[in-house]
Symmetry: C2
Subunit: 313 residues, 2 copies
């Protein structure tokens, strides 16, 4: 965990948000968004994905975005990589953190990444080897993300045994840690607590610290409370709640960074985020994407009268 904060908000809007909309945000706007959100105190941003431009033209400029984001002091620059080729590009660009998604639903894995579990685990091994071969001071962190962990729109519930086997497989392949991802918005607070315990039981408490939640059924922040209670301290979210997974029908809506930051600060948990500055970042996005809906309650309702953010220690 970063110094001086209790919970790390990992902004995924520039990747998960932008990949799910058809409009393409200009590079300069991406830079302005990332710079402004970092200036508001967000310490980790997933800035793009190294996928073929033919598949996601919205993220074709990820290498340039990474190069820019690396110039921002104190910011962890995260990217998504679907395979070794993407990881090679990510390492070359200088990303600080690579995330490889592995859909625990093999049906979803075939649709999303066009790979079987065995193939994804082989990619994980190849990426881990690549990462391990980097000089120590340039070595990025490598996370395996357990997608559709709370159920799949194609398969329904995922057996615990599949989940633990995939978590073990990712760690055995050489991942630094695993993450839980509610790709489909199926999670509920009881299941969040149960799965964190289940996965930590096989990988160790310090190898599962983060979760990616969607607000598809309105339970996003309720699931955050459960995640915090279970001991996680890194929460993904998207400015304005934009984004989702284009390959999981009906699975839209990341949790909203603004509401998440408000909730955490109101609870006395330090995020490092200045809420007023964060709320002002929305304008950068809406100015260039005026037709995209932006979500969030706090942006409409404002902060409570007499609201005091979490105090520095």
């Amino acid at each position: 965990m970063n110094a001086g904060i209790d919970v790390l908000i990992s902004e995924v809007g520039p990747r998960d948000g932008l990949q799910s909309i058809s409009a393409i945000m200009p590079l300069e706007a991406k830079k302005a968004w990332i710079a402004a959100e970092a200036a508001a105190g967000v310490r980790e941003i997933e800035v793009g994905s190294f996928v073929p431009a033919s598949l996601l033209p919205q993220l074709a400029d990820t290498a340039e975005v990474v190069a820019f984001a690396r110039t921002i002091p104190g910011l962890t620059v995260a990217v998504l990589v679907p395979n070794l080729r993407g990881a090679e590009a990510a390492v070359k660009a200088g990303a600080h953190k690579l995330t490889l998604p592995l859909s625990v639903s093999e049906t979803h894995s075939l649709k999303n990444l066009r790979r079987t579990h065995a193939q994804v685990l082989a990619e994980a091994k190849a990426i881990a080897d690549l990462v391990a071969a980097q000089p120590a001071d340039q070595r990025p962190k490598f996370e395996g993300s357990l997608s559709t962990a709370f159920g799949c729109t194609l398969e329904g519930p995922i057996p615990d045994e599949t989940l633990t086997r995939m978590a073990e497989g990712l760690m055995a392949a050489g991942c630094d840690e695993v993450g839980l991802s509610d790709t489909t918005g199926y999670a509920n607070p009881a299941e969040v607590g149960r799965l964190v315990k289940l996965i930590r039981g096989v990988v160790g408490d310090d190898k599962l610290t983060g979760i990616h939640l969607h607000n598809t059924r309105g339970l996003g922040l309720a699931n955050v409370v459960a995640a915090l209670n279970a001991g996680l301290d890194t929460i993904d979210s998207s400015l304005g709640g934009i984004g989702g997974c284009p390959f999981a029908p009906g699975a839209s809506g990341n949790i909203v960074t603004e509401d998440l930051a408000f909730m955490l600060e109101a609870m006395g948990l330090r995020t490092g985020v200045d809420l007023d500055k964060l709320l002002a970042v929305r304008k950068i996005v809406t100015d260039v994407l005026p037709d995209e809906p932006m979500y969030g309650f706090v942006p409409d309702a404002g902060l409570p009268l007499g609201f005091a953010p979490a105090r520095a220690a």
Copy 2:
């Protein structure tokens, strides 16, 4: 707690929802709504408020609504009463449960009920005496609700000492129990847990079992999780999230019954509610109030593939 369920969902839409909109729902539609929601398994419904018709013409037919709702087997018919006069009408109509709101913010109390704390506590005493004078088999339950407990749009944060003094005052006046109400949408999960403990410390665990939460800042269901963790088992909500408090500016949006019921059942907590039947009740409301926005995520997203509600014991 009702037999066979773990959490009691107390529907407040016909009171809190309808009082906050200008359109007047016809009596027959109210009856159809209440009957359908009871048939979907909701066991407690706040069906109206005994306030002067000049103040809230939307609820002028509350006595007739109560008379109808009393004919539904197994349904607890709750009403809001602002004073002794309202309580007399409620007792005459045969309501099973009376709730008197006391705004712990005295400024809000003067605006909302036009009474000082001392005056509201005197009303509470008069109502408790009235209730106690009823034959044992017809005696309604009498709850004092601590409104603006999590802060006031006019006063800001409320001192703990005011809150505990008002809770003790309501119990001393003769209330059967007290409830916590986030009238302004200022609550957060940490504060929910803290205030439940604080108030239970002065009134006893069995004298605070319910909470009324708003979703003004998107934290409604997150606060429910905290309430459950703190030991509460009765949660207010409104079908489609309609409603709020017309006297607290910006304080709109009850938590959505459909999303609440989904969350609880998904967590394995039995509510007695049939989700498909509950979702179908929305049409009754939208048919007669086509211009009123209805909220909720589950109505749009649907239930997860392979979803199983909480099992009967």
